[in-house]
Amino acid sequence: MKKIEAVIKPFKLDDVKEALNEIGIAGMTVSEVKGYGRQQGHSELYRGAEYVVDFLPKVKVEIVVPVQKVDEVIEAITQAARTGKIGDGKIFVMDVEKVVRIRTGEEDEEAL
C-alpha cells in the first residue's frame, strides 16, 4: 500500500475530490496547511505598510491506496489540480506498513 500526499491550491480541492471519486477512491483526509515552494509568499498592505506573508495557504489531501492504483491516482490529481501557473503544488508518495479499520479490526487492503 502507498500513501499519496498531495499539496494543492485550496480552490482546487473540489475538482480533486471529484476526480478521485470518479476513479473509485472512497475516502480521504484533508487539512489546511501553509507553505511555500517556488511561488514564494505574497504581501498585504495595511495603511500603506507592507506585510510580507512567507507562507501561503494550501490544502493537503492524504489517501492510502493499493500499489496498483498509485499511477491512476497521481494522474487524476495532476489533471484536476493543474492550472499551469506557479504554485500548483506537489504530490508525495510513500510506503504504508499497515492499515487497521478501528470498527471491525479488518487489516491492510481490506481496511482501505
Binding site: 498592505l45 495595511y46 495603511r47 500603506g48 505598510a49 506585510y51
Partner: protein, 406 residues
C-alpha cells in the same frame, strides 16, 4: 432662559450616542486592528479608561473643568457634584438640566482618554495604563477643556472649538504620540488586523455616535445642531473616498482599511469646525483631513519610526489640529456668527485658533511627557518581552478572544 424639554431630549439621546462611541465602537474599531493575541486587552483598555475617567469626572473632573476658578483651571465648588440638584439649569447652558449637561460632558472626557489607547496596544502594562488615565485626565484634559469650554483663557481669547478638535483630538493625539515614543516600538511593530469586519462595524458605530458628539455639542435642538451633524456626515464621506483614492493611486489597491481610516479622519477633522461651517466647508475639510492625515500616517510615521500603533496621532491629533485651523478660514457667519477669513472675517480668528493649537499642543506634550516618564520610572510602562510575545489576552486577562475546544 428656561429649561427647554426638546433640547433636553436631544442632548440626553446625544449622551447615549457618545457613550456608544467608546463602548463598543472605539473598543471594537481598535480591537479589529490589533493582533488576535491581544485584541481583548485593547477592548479592556478602552472600556476601563471610559469607566475610570467617568468616575473622576463625578469626583472632581467636572468641577475642575466647568466651575469658575481662574483662567487656567476651575475650582472645587462642584466637588462630588456638591450643590447640584437634578432640576437645576446648567450654568453653561441654562436650557438644559445641570445633571444632563455634566452627564453629556462626562462622555467627552472619557472618550478623550480612551482614544489614546490605540497608540499603546499589544505592549502596555495594564496597571500603568490605569494610572496614566487618572493622571492624564487630571493634568491634561480637565485643564485644557477648562481653557476652551469652561470659561478659561482660550475662550476669552476667542478660540473656537465646537466639539473637541483641540480639547479631545489634539490632546489625545499628542498624548498618544508622546506615550508611544516613551513606550517604544513593539517587538513586532506591524499592523496585523485580527478582524477588519470588526473595524468596519466600529467605523459605522463611531460615525453614528458622532451625530451626538458634534450635533449634541450645539446643546440645543437647533438649526446649528442639524447643520453640525449634516456637515459631519459629509466630511466623513469625503474623507473616506479621498483616502481610498490616494491609496489606489499610490499603492495600486483601494483597501477597506483605507476607506474606514479616511472616514475617521474626516470625522476627526470636521469636529472643531462642525458647528461653524456649511456643507461646502464640510467637503473641503473632509478633503484636507484625508490628505494631511494620509501624509501623517503613511509618510511621517515611517520617516520617524515611532510606533503610534493604530495611528491615534496620525488621524486624531493631526485631524483635530487641521480642523481647528480650517474653521478659521471657512466659518460662515450665517451658521453661528463666527466669520472666517474666506468670508471677510480677517485674520483675527486664524490668530486665535493658531494660539489655541500651539498652546494646547505645547502644554499637552510637556505634561504628557512628564506623566509617562514618571509612570515608567515608578511602575514601568511595558510588559515583559515574553508577555508581549505570548499576547496580552492570556498573560494579563487569562482569556482568549477565540477559544478552540481542543
Amino acid at each position: 432662559m428656561k429649561i427647554v424639554v426638546a433640547d433636553n431630549v436631544f442632548v440626553f439621546v446625544s449622551t447615549a450616542f457618545v457613550l456608544l462611541m467608546s463602548v463598543p465602537a472605539l473598543a471594537i474599531f481598535y480591537a479589529g486592528l490589533t493582533k488576535v493575541k491581544s485584541m481583548l486587552n485593547t477592548i479592556v483598555m478602552v472600556v476601563v479608561a471610559f469607566g475610570v475617567v467617568s468616575l473622576l469626572w463625578l469626583m472632581y473632573g467636572y468641577s475642575l473643568t466647568f466651575s469658575e476658578g481662574n483662567g487656567f483651571i476651575g475650582d472645587l465648588s462642584y466637588l462630588f457634584l456638591h450643590g447640584i440638584s437634578p432640576s437645576d439649569p446648567a450654568p453653561a447652558a441654562p436650557n438644559l438640566y445641570h445633571y444632563l449637561f455634566l452627564f453629556f460632558q462626562m462622555t467627552f472626557a472619557a472618550i478623550a482618554v480612551a482614544l489614546m489607547a490605540g497608540a499603546f496596544v499589544e505592549r502596555m502594562k495594564f496597571v500603568s495604563w490605569i494610572v496614566v488615565c487618572i493622571v492624564w485626565a487630571t493634568l491634561v484634559y480637565f485643564p485644557v477643556a477648562h481653557w476652551v469650554w469652561g470659561g478659561g483663557w482660550l475662550s476669552h481669547l476667542g478660540t473656537l472649538d465646537f466639539a473637541g478638535g483641540l480639547t479631545i483630538h489634539e490632546t489625545s493625539g499628542l498624548g498618544a504620540l508622546v506615550g508611544a515614543l516613551l513606550l517604544g516600538r513593539r517587538k513586532d511593530a506591524m499592523m496585523l488586523p485580527s478582524s477588519l469586519p470588526l473595524t468596519a462595524i466600529g467605523t459605522g458605530l463611531l460615525w453614528f455616535g458622532w451625530f451626538g458628539f458634534n450635533g449634541g455639542s450645539a446643546l440645543a435642538m437647533s438649526p446649528q445642531a442639524v447643520s453640525a451633524a449634516f456637515v459631519t456626515t459629509i466630511a466623513a464621506i469625503v474623507g473616506g473616498v479621498v483616502w481610498m483614492g490616494l491609496e489606489w493611486i499610490k499603492f495600486k489597491k483601494p483597501t477597506s482599511l483605507g476607506l474606514f481610516t479616511g472616514i475617521i479622519a474626516g470625522l476627526a477633522t470636521i469636529t472643531p469646525a462642525s458647528g461653524f461651517v456649511d456643507i461646502g466647508g464640510g467637503v473641503l475639510i473632509g478633503i484636507a483631513g484625508a490628505l494631511v492625515c494620509f501624509w501623517a500616517v503613511v509618510w511621517l510615521k515611517n520617516r520617524f519610526k515611532y510606533d503610534d500603533s493604530l495611528d491615534v496621532f496620525g488621524v486624531h491629533g493631526v485631524g483635530g489640529m487641521v480642523g481647528a485651523l480650517m474653521l478659521a478660514l471657512l466659518a460662515k457667519p450665517d451658521i453661528a456668527g463666527a466669520k472666517g477669513l474666506f468670508y471677510g472675517g480677517g485674520f483675527g480668528q486664524l490668530w486665535s485658533e493658531l494660539i489655541g493649537v500651539v498652546a494646547v499642543g505645547v502644554y499637552t506634550v510637556v505634561v504628557s511627557y512628564a506623566i509617562f516618564k514618571v509612570v515608567d520610572l515608578w511602575l514601568g510602562l511595558r510588559v515583559s518581552k515574553e508577555e508581549e510575545q505570548e499576547g496580552l489576552d492570556e498573560t494579563i486577562h487569562g482569556e482568549k478572544a477565540y477559544v478552540k475546544e481542543y
